[in-house]
């Protein structure tokens, strides 16, 4: 198990965002988290990535306790994430967006006098190629289409060469045809690099096509988890998710 959580609890005042959440991820698998809005999916990602500390409970990554560590330390350990609203550098080019992540990963952030060397550029171009951004590399991030912005956000997460990626709704707001392109790209990278993925997703078609395991959340609790075939049969789940899509 590359990641597991123990009885995570997070309340925002009266709102129970996470109630005794126990989650475990096997290396190299794609796990989707689904559930109605407000189920606690993004909160879970936030707690794992260090954005918010849990009220109670722990998170273990590669057998180390990473509970409530600062986000940058967690990122350094090999966890990358993307955001619901794409967190990219609007004023920088696509190339630079990726280069910044590469610079961090290679530990070259403190190189004050050196130029941006070949290694950085090579690795950046690798990522750009995988995600199909080579032709657009000199465009400013703010000029990209919405789908491209989401993909760039994901590309940045992968530029860290992570062992685990947390993707928060990577295809939301994107047209159906683009959705499959994006998900395909993500899927290929994951399989090629042996990365483990935890994906929050609303589109059930995508969820059923790409996931090894599905976790269903409702009101802060995990109410079901299992293989796509199992979840499809689950009447309980169907009832809860009926309002969604």
């Amino acid at each position: 198990m590359i990641l597991y959580t123990k009885n995570l609890v997070k309340h925002f005042g009266e709102v129970k965002a996470l109630e005794n959440v126990n989650l475990s991820l096997e290396k190299g698998t794609i796990t989707s988290i689904v559930g109605p809005n407000g189920a606690g999916k993004t909160t879970l990602i936030n707690v794992i990535s260090g954005t918010i500390p849990p009220d109670k409970g722990k998170v273990f990554f590669m057998n180390k306790d990473i509970t409530a560590l600062l986000p940058y330390k967690i990122a350094r350990m090999g966890i990358g994430r993307s955001f619901q609203i794409p967190a990219i550098y609007n004023g920088l080019t696509v190339l630079d967006n990726v280069r910044v992540a590469i610079i961090s990963r290679l530990g070259k952030a403190n190189k004050i006098f050196h130029k941006i060397d070949k290694e950085i550029n090579e690795k950046a171009n690798e990522i750009l190629e995988i995600f199909g951004f080579l032709e657009k590399k000199n465009l400013l991030a703010q000029d990209l289409s919405h789908g491209d912005r989401k993909l760039l956000d994901v590309a940045i997460a992968f530029a860290l060469d992570p062992k685990l990626v947390l993707l928060d709704e990577p295809t939301s707001g994107v047209s159906t045809s683009e959705k499959n392109i994006i998900m395909n790209t993500i899927h290929n990278v994951i399989k090629e690099k042996g990365v483990t993925a935890l994906i929050v997703e609303h589109d059930m078609d995508i969820v059923f096509s790409y996931s090894n395991k599905i976790i269903v959340m409702h009101q802060g609790e995990i109410i079901a988890e299992g293989k796509p075939s199992q979840i499809k049969e689950d009447k309980n789940v169907e009832r809860i998710l009926l309002g969604v899509e």
């Binding site: 260090g50 954005t51 918010i52 500390p53 600062l70 986000p71």
Partner: protein, 293 residues
């Protein structure tokens, strides 16, 4: 012994009263309009200068209380003019622009003060002197200070009543909690904002007017006031009137006792307090959690 301590304590509350007036004005403007009014210190200073002039120009001592009200209101009007003329253009812009704009405004107001009132300090201590001395626990104490404390207290209560018990006050509090929701609900923000600046600036001007009689109006008092208000906010959190009150009291007391026991560091005492708070409790007493390092 108790009598002396009481005197110092009262001094502390006196300072706190003035600080509270300044800081609550600042806090109101921030909570509702989202603007950190960098020029607030200047409003305080202008209030002091206007009061200095008006007091000297008032023949009848019985009319003196009105000079304070008039000074405060004049400053309030300046506040509205600034808001409608300049600030309203930058509500939607990032924080940097607001800070820059208000920084520029503070420069303009500083020089405006120098141009109109001259470079020399002005004083008008009549109200302080006419109020006379009373006895507290056998020791003499200026009645003026007590009056200021009472006035400040009354204003504080009125502010609370206004915000929590009146319809308009509730609108204002709603605005401060969520600006976008409020306009969606149909609350007319284009007259709420100038009103808030009117109230906030008036409070700032009033505090300057009130501090004038025992001291002087001089150039540079704006920076000191701004920094003290900032220290108060650091303790009490930005956006909380309750925090402004508690912070003011803490700073007022520290100042009052600090001056007595360690006079050499009076100048630095405010900065030392600020540094201490920043090191020990960076988010203030009522601040929120910030996760990003």
């Amino acid at each position: 012994m108790l009598d002396i301590i009481t005197t110092y304590f009262l001094n502390g509350i006196f300072f706190a009263s003035i600080l509270f007036l300044i800081t609550s004005g600042l806090t109101l403007i921030f909570s509702v309009a989202g603007i950190v009014n960098f020029a607030h210190g200047c409003l305080y200073m202008i209030g002091a200068y206007i009061a200095a002039i008006l007091i000297k120009a008032t023949p009848n001592p019985m009319l003196l209380p009105f000079t304070f009200i008039v000074s405060a209101l004049l400053v309030g009007i300046i506040g509205v003019v600034i808001e409608r003329g300049l600030i309203k253009w930058i509500y939607k812009r990032p924080v940097d622009y607001q800070l820059l704009l208000l920084f520029g405004v503070s420069l303009i107001l500083q020089d405006f003060t120098r141009i109109i009132f001259g470079p020399q300090p002005l004083s008008s201590s009549e109200p302080f002197i006419y109020s006379g001395i009373i006895e507290i626990l056998g020791r003499p104490y200026p009645l003026y200070n007590i009056i200021v404390i009472i006035v400040s207290f009354i204003i504080g209560i009125s502010l609370w009543l206004f915000l929590y018990k009146t319809k308009l006050g509730k609108y204002i509090r709603a605005c401060s909690l969520d600006r976008e929701m409020s306009s969606a609900l149909g609350i007319n923000t284009s007259y709420i904002f100038p009103m808030i600046f009117l109230i906030g600036a008036t409070l700032g001007g009033l505090s300057g007017a009130l501090i004038l009689p025992p001291t002087v109006a001089m150039l540079g008092m704006d920076a000191d006031a701004l920094i003290e208000a900032f220290v108060v906010i650091t303790i009490g959190g930005l956006g909380s009137i309750k925090g402004a009150l508690i912070g003011s009291i803490i700073i007022g007391i520290i100042r009052a006792f600090g001056i007595v026991y360690i006079p050499e560091i009076e100048l630095a005492i405010i900065y030392l307090v600020m540094a201490a708070i920043l090191i020990v409790r960076p988010r203030g007493l009522f601040g929120k959690e910030y996760r990003v390092a």
